[in-house]
């Protein structure tokens, strides 16, 4: 059988994630020390785990409502209000999803018709463009720059808007750069969007990890709530990656459509995870703050260390990544990562895995203990020195 003839073209054309390749390379080696993961190193807070255990003990293992437990949707709505002062009706404007990833998927699928252009702020998380492609939409990258601290500027946005523009994907705080959008940056973006029919998919999965004041959501800016699908989740904030739980919040007419896809594709998010998530939203502020402070400490140390070894990086103010420029070594992103792995057994991710404009950069995660970071940084320093003296 010639499977290639049978499989959907759009799927065959889909490139596997550039991250995956490095995972495979690293997995074949012994003694690798990695700075490559995009998930917290902390345990899920104990009270959250306990809430899931209790749910299991009580036999709460049936389907929930398609949009998620009512109690959880209420808790989500209250949480968003408490953190950002934005209100969503828990009954019609919130859907509990299988991770933020599902939220992104159903939002794009609900909104994109063939030929619709989707503006994707790059560098970014790897899933947006393949999903747009699957919907026969047209991904239009907007390349942000290191000198702007990888913020989206109004001018860059304006330049890419056409009659076919349907959606802007706004991923801040950003994976892989650690860049954030402050209120004034968002005001400028809002100014461009107001009066258009362009929708926004705001992926704010890292919203609780910011290091220079509170996170600002585009939904807080005048005229933006009604055009925005807000995606968030539990993985990063509460260290709950394996629980696969996230949510979308959006105006009812949008939510109702996304809910249809969710209902046919997923039914409902895992029930035990939903019970645990209520506890996370209601009783984990202290734990979240403790983790944030720990990340912050590592972040400060790492940024200084990288700049000292000659890998320039701006100060990332969100998420748990640093995105240093490696051009001074004379290597491309992939060469840098391959050689660093080969010679010093340190795994990092090449910046171009997150979009073409990530070329010349690498992503380093600081979701690792300080001790681990220090060992890895020492090896990287040696490597950079070898590159400088032409020995790599």
């Amino acid at each position: 059988m010639d499977y290639n003839k049978l499989i959907a073209k759009k799927c065959i054309e889909m490139k596997p994630s550039g991250i995956r390749k490095f995972f495979d390379l690293a997995a074949q080696r012994e003694g690798v020390i990695s700075l490559g993961v995009g998930e917290p190193d902390f345990q899920t807070p104990w009270n959250v785990r306990e809430a899931a255990i209790t749910a299991l003990e009580k036999g709460k293992t049936k389907y929930t409502a398609n949009s998620g437990l009512g109690e959880l949707r209420s808790a989500i709505s209250k949480y968003i209000d408490r953190k950002m002062g934005v209100s969503y009706d828990p009954n019609h404007e919130v859907v509990v999803t299988v991770g933020g990833s599902e939220g992104i998927d159903i939002a794009i699928r609900a909104l994109i018709d063939p030929g619709d252009e989707v503006l994707i702020v790059e560098p970014c998380f790897v899933c947006y463009s393949p999903i747009v492609d699957l919907c026969h939409g047209v991904p239009v990258p907007i390349e942000t720059r290191a000198e702007d601290e990888f913020r989206l500027t109004a001018a860059q946005l304006r330049e890419k808007i056409t009659d076919r523009t349907k959606l802007l994907i706004l991923p801040f705080p950003n994976n892989p750069t650690g860049g954030i959008m402050e209120r004034r940056d968002l005001e400028e973006i809002a100014e461009v969007l107001r009066g258009t029919d362009i929708l926004v998919l705001s992926d704010e999965i890292y919203s609780s990890l910011t290091y220079s004041g509170e996170h600002v959501s585009i939904t807080q800016i005048d005229g933006m709530w009604e055009r925005t699908v807000l995606v968030n989740g539990f993985s990063k904030a509460f260290s709950m990656t394996g629980w696969r739980l996230g949510y979308i919040a959006a105006p009812e007419p949008l939510c109702a459509q996304m809910l249809k896809i969710h209902q046919y594709a997923i039914m409902c998010a895992p029930t035990m995870s939903q019970f645990a998530a209520i506890e996370a939203l209601e009783n984990c502020d202290g734990e979240v703050e403790k983790m944030r402070q720990e990340y912050d400490m590592r972040r400060r140390w790492l940024v200084k260390e990288l700049n000292d070894m000659g890998l320039c990086c701006f100060e990332p103010k969100g998420a748990f990544y640093v995105f240093p420029c490696i051009r001074s070594t004379g290597l491309s992103s992939e060469e840098f990562c391959e050689k660093l792995l080969d010679k010093h057994n340190v795994a990092v991710v090449p910046g171009n895995a997150f979009g073409d404009c990530g070329e010349g950069f690498i992503r380093i995660s600081y979701a690792y203990s300080l001790k681990h970071l220090m060992t890895a940084a020492e090896r990287m320093r040696e490597f950079v020195e070898e590159c400088r003296s032409g020995n790599c």
């Binding site: 991250i19 490095f22 997995a27 990695s34 490559g36 993961v37 790897v126 795994a347």
Partner: protein, 159 residues
């Protein structure tokens, strides 16, 4: 506990400059704060976490429950002071519960510890009884994993 102390507890060899970067402060401020903690006796000293078993195969540690009769004028303090004066004694703690003082001891072999308890500890005036427990394996000490390294279950690279 403030973040400076927490950091020092995980690694007392961090330089003032490194600590300053992590805490968003300056090396001078960090040094001043450490000096202040030392002056106030909040920082008592700087030590190292040793896997005693690896350093010396025969080394033995014991945990001893001691019951005592407190003295009318000075309570448990004088007895505790008598016990802590011995070099072999690592820690002395006053406890709530079914015994009074918890003492940890280290020695070069079981016999040395047994003899110490028999000759020195139980003979102290006011000591009613002792119960000696030998440490078989240490798993975690002062926040550090002793027996095994912490394992990272995450993969090498993920989105």
């Amino acid at each position: 506990m403030d973040s400076l102390l927490k950091l020092l507890k995980t690694n007392a060899r961090l330089s003032a400059a490194e600590l300053a970067v992590m805490l968003g402060s300056t090396a001078e401020e960090v040094n001043a704060k450490i000096a202040e903690y030392e002056r106030q006796g909040i920082i008592k000293g700087y030590s190292v976490i040793v896997d005693g078993e690896k350093a010396d195969k025969n080394a033995v540690t014991a945990f001893i429950e001691v019951k005592v009769t407190p003295k009318a004028d000075c309570g448990f303090d004088e007895l505790a002071r008598n016990i802590m004066a011995y070099d072999e004694v690592d820690t002395v703690t006053l406890m709530s519960g079914s015994f009074d003082l918890a003492v940890t001891l280290s020695g070069t072999d079981y016999k040395e510890i047994a003899l110490f308890v028999a000759r020195r500890l139980s003979t102290i005036e006011g000591v009613i009884s002792t119960s000696t427990h030998f440490v078989l394996k240490r798993y975690k000490e002062q926040g550090f994993f002793i027996a095994d390294e912490a394992e990272d279950e995450r993969g090498f690279v993920s989105p």
